[in-house]
């Protein structure tokens, strides 16, 4: 089993993600510089948070055309697990691997605080260690987390049970309180809150850890030891 954490210029949660995979769920992990291509030896790709390319033009818009992203798209289409957190979620939206787009937070503030999320779907490789309906505490840290999708797209998300996390109290204006979604094939997750910032007791919440544990469990079940 091998995890890869992609690093763009301006990524700043890459080391946190790397740390959780290596030292908390104890799995092999490597950094992948955005100019590299090819993900043949990887089982799960993490696109971390931060400010790739300074958030210039639109969050994630420039990173989406980094050389590694062609490989990520191929990897995802072949069924590989991809998790995008915060800026990583924005990159996945820009790349078209997940539907919708991000707008400025409704209150125009950079929101940096713990939020409560309701786990809406546990039948994904990323959320199987939660209980459906469970309320978890995971921190947000973003300026553009106001998830937008049109009515037709929202109906699709609901129909296919693609909404994985909803805010208990909507902090940013996101459509239908959406904090995290998967694609239809359920192998790509995007979420605004940061599970890597709450995977150890020292950080006051371990509610993010089940995401990493779910991925490890899923990969083991699928023969990637």
């Amino acid at each position: 089993m091998k995890f890869g954490v992609i690093v763009f210029p301006g990524s700043n949660c890459d080391q946190d993600c790397f740390h959780v995979v290596k030292n908390v769920v104890k799995q092999p992990v490597e950094y992948i510089w955005h100019k590299n291509t090819g993900l043949d030896n990887f089982d799960c790709v993490v696109i971390p948070g931060g400010f790739s390319y300074g958030d210039y033009l639109r969050c994630g818009a420039i990173a989406r055309f980094s050389p590694i992203m062609e490989s990520v798209i191929k990897f995802a289409k072949a069924g590989g697990l991809v998790i995008g957190i915060c800026n990583g979620f924005q990159v996945l939206l820009e790349a078209g691997l997940l539907p919708g787009a991000m707008l400025r937070n409704k209150n125009l503030h950079f929101i940096c605080k713990f939020v409560e999320l309701k786990v809406e779907a546990t039948d994904t490789p990323f959320s199987s260690k939660y209980k459906k309906g469970e309320i978890v505490r995971i921190p947000n840290a973003h300026n553009e987390g106001n998830y937008y999708i049109d009515d037709k797209g929202l109906a699709e998300l609901k129909k296919n049970n693609q909404i994985v996390f909803r805010y208990v109290s909507n902090p940013n204006g996101a459509v239908d309180d959406i904090a995290g979604i998967v694609n239809q094939k359920r192998n790509v997750l995007g979420m605004m809150p940061h599970p890597e910032r709450c995977s150890e007791a020292e950080l006051t919440s371990t509610d993010g850890r089940p995401i990493f544990e779910s991925i490890v469990g899923w990969l083991k079940q699928h023969g990637r030891t």
């Binding site: 707008l103 937070n105 125009l108 937008y148 049109d150 204006g173």
Partner: protein, 80 residues
Amino acid sequence: MFEAEVKITLKKTVADPQGLTIKHALESLGFTSLEQVRMGKFITIQIKAKDKAQAQAEVEAMCAKLLANPIIEDYTVEVK
């Protein structure tokens, strides 16, 4: 050499929190006859092309691929 002016705006169906905040600020300054304020992006691009039509087509391709996000934004291109 041509100069293209690109205007990118949020679609009318998409809420614009920045525009709304600017509207409120203007109203608090006494500009009370405002109906709506929308905020967008303005980009100028200097481009070599054999004619205006080619410059137009190329900048529109840039908008479709990178400069605008068609899910939330509209754009116009004017070549001078």
